[in-house]
């Protein structure tokens, strides 16, 4: 059963606040047998639209890397640790030095767990402890199973947690016989986004016609190109600035990013969100019909582009 290929679509935006999560929730409502992976682990929101009030089936602790710990009774205050730490994570109240009574203190949020201080400490006063960096959750939703996570605030390993969320989603999809994983990515172009994109069969960029939206669209489209992922786009709030919407179309054309549709600004997004449902469930709006068209355009375009995949899946 595992050799059956599971298709993965990652929805990203570059700029935050373009409507990405509302689209993912809407697609989940349209497409049967989908597994959802909320990879915006810094600020996971998808559950608010698809699983409000639901209890988690499973909670899995996420540990990653290490943090340094100083034994103040052993620390001589020599300051070697400050010297070797590249992350400015060691501090001394009142300054280090052999004759100082000050003890090294580790600033947890700055410590990256490289262990250099522990390795170099002449008094062996520093040890490393495993770092608890967050939790993963498996939740039932109105549409399919959702894997989401919560990164402990201030943690630096969000890319790794994203990878864990996706692994779990693949496992669950295998168990349930689901053929599609829908990934709600994170904003930006850095480590969590790279982890949300790598190995995906397609990427959908939800953008908006603002100077910031356009600027970040170009950066995230280049990132998709860097990873050779077939990329599509939707222009949300397209009527806020028609001239910029045209420029987005041009930029997408230049980058061979297919624009699947444009959706005008509509309060239905906020209304649905406030009601804790997807725009598809809220009412029979123009927006809902539009999004339905975008989803089927995405699937048929992907099928066309990934011809080899379709043949393999049919076998």
């Amino acid at each position: 059963m595992r050799d059956r290929k599971i298709e993965q679509i990652s929805v990203i935006s570059g700029k935050g606040g373009t409507g990405k999560t509302s689209y993912v929730a809407a697609f989940a409502c349209i497409q049967p047998d989908v597994v959802l992976a909320d990879c915006d682990v810094d600020a996971a929101n998808l559950h608010l639209l698809v699983a409000s009030g639901q209890k988690n089936d499973e909670t899995i602790p996420f540990t990653s890397g290490y943090k340094a710990m100083v034994d103040p009774d052993v620390c001589t205050g020599c300051g070697k640790c400050v010297e070797v730490c590249r992350f400015h994570a060691v501090r001394f109240e009142g300054g280090a030095g052999a004759d100082s009574r000050a003890k090294a203190q580790i600033e947890d949020l700055a410590c990256e767990g490289c262990g250099c201080c522990a390795d170099e400490c002449p008094a062996a006063a520093i040890s490393l402890r495993e770092n608890t960096a967050g939790e993963l959750f498996v939740s039932p939703t109105r549409f399919g199973t959702l894997i989401h996570a919560r990164l402990t605030p201030g943690q630096g390993t969000s890319g790794k947690l994203v990878a864990r969320v996706r692994e779990k989603a693949v496992d669950i999809a295998g168990e349930k016989g689901a053929e599609l994983i829908l990934i709600d990515g994170s904003p930006g172009i850095g480590c969590p986004v790279i982890a949300s994109l790598s190995g995906a069969d397609g990427a959908l960029i939800v953008t908006e016609p603002t100077v910031a939206g356009l600027h970040d669209l170009i950066r995230v489209a280049d990132l998709c190109d860097h990873f050779k992922i077939p990329t599509y786009a939707v222009i949300n709030k397209c009527d806020i600035n028609l001239e910029l919407a045209d420029r987005i179309q041009e930029q997408c054309r230049d980058r061979r990013v297919e624009v699947l549709g444009s959706v005008p600004f509509d309060p239905v997004f906020v209304n649905a969100l406030t009601a804790g449902v997807t725009v598809m469930e809220y009412d029979d709006s123009e927006v809902a019909r539009n999004i339905k068209g975008i989803w089927s355009a995405l699937l048929s375009s992907m099928r066309k582009n990934n011809h080899a995949f379709t043949k393999a899946a049919a076998r």
């Binding site: 890397g65 990256e112 262990g115 390795d119 201030g154 943690q155 790279i194 950066r219 406030t274």
Partner: protein, 259 residues
């Protein structure tokens, strides 16, 4: 807010993955440099293949292939542990470029930001470079990246006050709670600005009231603002009533810091 400030202001855009402030300020850059981090390079002639570098690397960034070390660039945190521990000195740390720093200085204003290279995953070194410009300045405004993980923490660390901008929706409230938890952990005093006020619901205000968090100001939901923003125009320059809103938020922040 920077443009409503009465004194000389420094604005540092630390959202190096998706920097946007320059689109509104349209600065003429007076300074530009490539930012680098140190990464190990192995000298195959000196290396004995002992594997000490792999042992000390807590990020599992080094593997031995046919007896020689190889680096997984994206896992390396540039801690320098491998180079320091190599018994034969076969590891040299070499500068690798990760992004661009740009700054614009005029008589009354200083602006700087960073642009992370495409495909580069770690933004902290670039954020640290941009924040170096905060030293010995009177008033520094930092535009921080979204989220609550390392780029946000790196941007907010060692500041005197955090302004958390949210919106009155369930998403806004959910993410605000996470941001509040993070700045509390960092021990930084903070207040909230409610953007797009009037949309959605009251739950953000109720939360702030319950947690005794000062609401520094509200920016009403206004289609004119959305249109100005989309064009890259600064709202307070076109709609005078907004100048007052931003000035009063800034005044309120300065008062809160005095406390």
């Amino acid at each position: 807010m920077a443009l409503c400030s009465p004194s000389n202001t420094v604005l540092l855009d630390c959202d190096v993955e998706a920097p946007n402030a320059h689109l509104f300020l349209k600065p003429e850059y007076t300074e530009r440099e490539r930012v680098t981090v140190l990464k190990p390079v192995f000298d195959p002639d000196l290396c004995t293949g002992c594997g000490r570098c792999r042992e000390v690397c807590r990020f599992n960034a080094i593997v031995l292939l046919t007896g020689k070390p190889m680096l997984f660039q994206e896992l390396c945190h540039s801690c320098g542990g491998c180079a320091r521990n190599c018994p034969v000195g076969a590891i040299e740390e070499v500068r690798f470029e990760v992004g661009t720093y740009e700054a614009a200085e005029s008589r009354s204003f200083f602006f700087a930001h960073g642009l992370l290279d495409i495909g580069e995953s770690r933004s902290s070194p670039l954020i640290i470079r941009v924040k170096e410009e905060a030293h010995d300045r009177e008033l520094v405004l930092i535009d921080a990246p979204p989220g609550t993980s390392c780029p946000m923490v790196e941007s907010v660390r060692d500041t005197d006050y955090a302004v958390l901008v949210t919106e009155p929706t369930p998403f806004g409230l959910h993410d605000l709670k996470l941001a509040v938890e993070t700045v509390r952990k960092l021990g930084i005093p903070f207040g909230v600005v409610i953007n797009r006020a009037g949309l959605g619901e009251e739950s953000v205000k109720v939360f702030c009231l319950g947690e005794k968090i000062p609401v520094l100001g509200e920016i009403p939901f206004d289609r004119r603002v959305a249109v100005l923003y989309s064009r890259g125009d600064v709202v307070s320059e076109f709609l005078p009533e907004y100048r007052e809103i931003f000035s009063s938020i800034l005044e309120r922040v300065l008062c809160e810091i005095e406390k």
